[in-house]
């Protein structure tokens, strides 16, 4: 069998240099795509986007064949999938036990979390650009087939708030990943967060007057959904700031503490 060919004396290397964050980001980005599960999760954004475009061309009433319709159709699956990508990239280190290697190669876990967040945001921004282009193509093709006039009804400002809305969703995934650090548990929590809680909040608001006034200040989904409609009032921005701080920022800080202290076995 082969043995090590090098015959040099082993000594401690001084000044190997701290690894730049960009390198850690590159590695984390690679890790999002290099398994079948990871690859198809990211690919599903493109696939569902294409399906949504085709479905809109086929089934939407002619009057609705506007850019807004297409962008919404393509963007919806993304708002669901992006937080899962971010969440799973974190929980996998514990559930797949790869953290044993990751955190011995990069002992500062804050850097790993930062790199994971940056790479998830990179994937998110790339997917949203893809959605905008795909929506535009869909609008062109759809309107041409139906013979309706081309309507570009997503102002640039709304495009920006949509991106912000998606990023807040993604950070919710990051937060849940850090707090729970278990893939199955965090996914369940994510669906409670994004499906169950809003439904309960709406039910409560419909039946209880006191909650109706309170809801904008405590319900993140409520505040976040304004971003997808666009042109927010000052109060809506305040709603967003308060709910995002309460439901995403503060728990993220707690989650990061847990990540720093938790044992990796």
């Amino acid at each position: 069998m082969t043995t090590i060919a090098t015959e040099h004396v082993l000594e401690r290397r001084a000044g190997t240099g701290r690894m730049p964050l960009s390198r850690v980001v590159g590695v984390e980005l690679r890790k999002m795509f290099d398994t079948r599960a990871g690859f198809w999760l990211v690919a599903s954004i493109g696939i569902t986007g294409l399906l949504a475009t085709v479905a809109t061309v086929l089934f939407a009433p002619d009057a609705d064949l506007t850019y807004d319709t297409f962008a919404t159709a393509v963007g919806f699956p993304m708002t669901v999938i992006l937080p899962m990508i971010s969440l799973l990239s974190i929980t996998g280190e514990w559930s797949q036990r790869t953290g044993l290697t990751t955190f011995t190669l990069v002992p500062d876990r804050r850097r790993v979390m930062m790199a994971k967040t940056v790479s998830a945001v990179t994937v998110a921004v790339a997917s949203m650009l893809f959605a905008l282009v795909l929506g535009a193509l869909g609008n062109l093709v759809g309107s041409t087939i139906a013979g309706t006039p081309l309507v570009w009804d997503v102002p640039l400002a709304q495009g920006a708030t949509i991106i912000l809305g998606n990023l807040i969703g993604l950070l919710t995934g990051t937060m849940l990943g850090m707090v729970i650090r278990n893939s199955a548990g965090a996914l369940v929590a994510y669906f409670c967060y994004s499906l169950l809680l809003p439904t309960l909040a709406d039910l409560l608001a419909a039946s209880q007057n006191w909650f109706r006034d309170l809801q904008p200040w405590v319900d993140l989904n409520h505040a976040q959904s304004a971003l997808f409609v666009g042109s927010l009032s000052g109060e809506q921005w305040a709603n967003l700031a308060v709910t995002a701080a309460t439901w995403v920022l503060l728990p993220s800080a707690a989650g990061l503490r847990l990540v720093m202290r938790s044992e990796v076995k």
Binding site: V27, T101, L105, E263, V264
Partner: protein
């Protein structure tokens, strides 16, 4: 050099590692020996910063592992060969390590050759790897940064006899080139063959440590002769303690050299004379007795 100083880990009231101190020196292989659940893995996890110690410190040449700039190039670590994403190929796992450390690409192929994983095997997903193959991949990950210090938890697990021999040669070569090797095992024989220094741990405490030759010498000798009574009297006259076992073998605290001289002087013919590794083995069996199904070893 690895320095473990008064390292302690408590979980609530349970003390898993209790104020242990030892060093692993360059140019030597240090065997960290103890039964399952003795605290070996917890100690190693504390050394590489995966578990926060309750008290004490673990340093590599004076630095905490967490303070190393690019730890993979200073300390090669393999704690659990199974802790890999089953969906990645062996080559991909090595590539991740290579990129994280900022090494040239060709290191991946070189390492695959060092651990004898061929191209087909390297491109298979780890889910299809045997434990032995995962162990080789883990060793490759530990070695890819060409670190001077190696920390390996049960590296021989799952390897076939040829693989164990290969691993032994690899670690010996590493130590001979001035490297530091700390390896854990729950198998006394394995550590006896490979280690220069032995640290034995049981129930979170160090029960014995020193160079292998020292520890083995402490065990005295085992001697066989048809004239057991005469030799026993001669040994007792020389002040050595003796103990006759049922099968006629005589155990004595005197080392083999002294026993030989005493036997010669007493005119007793010997049929067997060797160092009794019993001291270490007895101690180890006593430690393992609590956890083994066979109950306390006689």
């Amino acid at each position: 050099m690895i320095t473990i100083d008064s390292l302690t880990k408590k979980y609530g009231d349970a003390i898993v590692v209790d104020t242990i101190s030892f060093t692993a020196r360059p140019g030597r292989i240090t065997g960290f020996l103890g039964p399952n659940g003795a605290g070996k893995s917890t100690t190693m996890r504390m050394l590489v910063g995966l578990t926060e110690p309750t008290a004490g410190s673990a340093t590599i040449d004076g630095d905490r592992f967490a303070d190393l700039a690019n730890p993979g190039m200073e300390v090669g670590v393999m704690l659990d060969a199974s802790a890999q994403h089953a969906g990645r190929t062996g080559r991909e796992i090595l590539t991740i390590a290579q990129q994280t450390m900022g090494l040239p690409r060709h290191r991946v192929a070189e390492m695959l050759a060092v651990v004898s994983l061929d191209a087909t095997e390297a491109d298979r997903r780890v889910a299809n790897y045997s434990l032995g193959m995962r162990q080789r991949l883990g060793i490759a990950t530990a070695l890819i940064g060409d670190p001077a210090v190696l920390v390996l938890d049960e590296p021989a697990n799952g390897l076939d006899p040829a693989g164990i021999r290969w691993m032994r040669d690899l670690l010996r070569d590493h130590a001979d080139r001035g490297g530091t090797v700390l390896l854990s095992s729950h198998l006394l024989r394995e550590v006896e063959v490979i280690a220069d220094d032995i640290v034995m741990i049981g129930h979170g405490e160090i029960v014995s440590q020193g160079s292998k030759t020292e520890l083995l010498k402490a065990g005295g000798s085992l001697v066989r002769t048809p004239e057991g009574d005469t030799l026993e009297q001669a040994l007792a006259a020389a002040g050595a303690e003796t103990d006759r076992s049922g099968d006629g073998a005589l155990r004595t605290s005197a080392d083999p050299g002294l026993v030989g001289r005493i036997a010669l002087a007493a005119g007793v013919a010997l049929t067997e004379l060797r160092t009794a590794d019993g001291g270490l083995e007895d101690m180890f069996l006593e430690l393992t007795a609590d956890t083994q199904r066979e109950g306390r070893a006689a």
